[in-house]
Symmetry: C2
Subunit: 146 residues, 2 copies
């Protein structure tokens, strides 16, 4: 897949919670996991080891901030982190608060459903944004061209 046809190059991919010039945090529209977030690197790069050390550290700092904010807001039983990119080979991290009564627990959300499961709503997106800004600084409005 080239950058020209990559959906993460083309669209935000969810509700924008925070962004800077290098990456963005989005909230995914997932009925079973309403607080499922993703951290998406802006530039079209396939693997973490395609990024230099500085960019890698920056991206992970945003992943840790997202984990921290979701833990503080929701006290999940577990946080799940994953970066696959098998379908969209553009670096992005899944950050998912998990609960023992959710649809797949203790399986991954990509596994076999275990029950109908409770969808834990989580706080309003404005609350998550405010908490992210407290850790990461203000979101950038105007983002330089890709």
């Amino acid at each position: 897949m080239s950058a020209q046809t990559c959906e993460l190059c083309e669209v935000t991919g969810g509700e924008l919670l925070w962004q800077d010039a290098r990456c963005r945090v989005i909230r995914v529209a997932d009925a079973h996991y309403p607080a499922f977030c993703r951290v998406v690197w802006r530039r079209h790069v396939a693997e973490m080891t395609d990024l230099d050390m500085t960019d890698r550290a920056h991206l992970m700092a945003v992943v840790w901030a997202t984990e921290r904010v979701l833990r503080d807001a929701m006290q999940p039983d577990k946080i799940n982190l994953a970066s696959f990119g098998n379908m969209v080979p553009h670096v992005h991290w899944h950050v998912i608060p998990r609960f023992s009564d959710d649809r797949h627990f203790p399986q991954s959300v990509w596994g076999t459903p275990q029950r109908d499961g409770l969808a834990h709503a989580g706080p309003a997106s404005s609350v998550l944004t405010a908490a992210l800004e407290q850790i990461l600084g203000p979101a950038t409005d105007a983002v330089p061209g890709r």
Copy 2:
């Protein structure tokens, strides 16, 4: 689950490729994914944000080294990274070289099998160890008590 009954506190969990005082890299015995590796934090901690910044950076440096070594050795179509801990809430990272003709691609290895799939053998473990040592330095033989 307490540290007293945690399997990652009790057993290595695979073939040991590299270790230092803080973490270890193991090769998992997975028939479909013979080069599936895990990076296991030594201390019993559930979440990445339970580690301080220095430990977090160290653990991820070992994850990136494992990704680098697997990429160089196997040229996979994609690397998959994940840290769940739903069943064993002790920080560990899955590092999985993926190929378009493997059992689950483009699904995660926790998803529905797509075909019988080819098991890509990967190099001998001694080769992976040597490559890890080149990036991370010599493995530690004697590990302090947990």
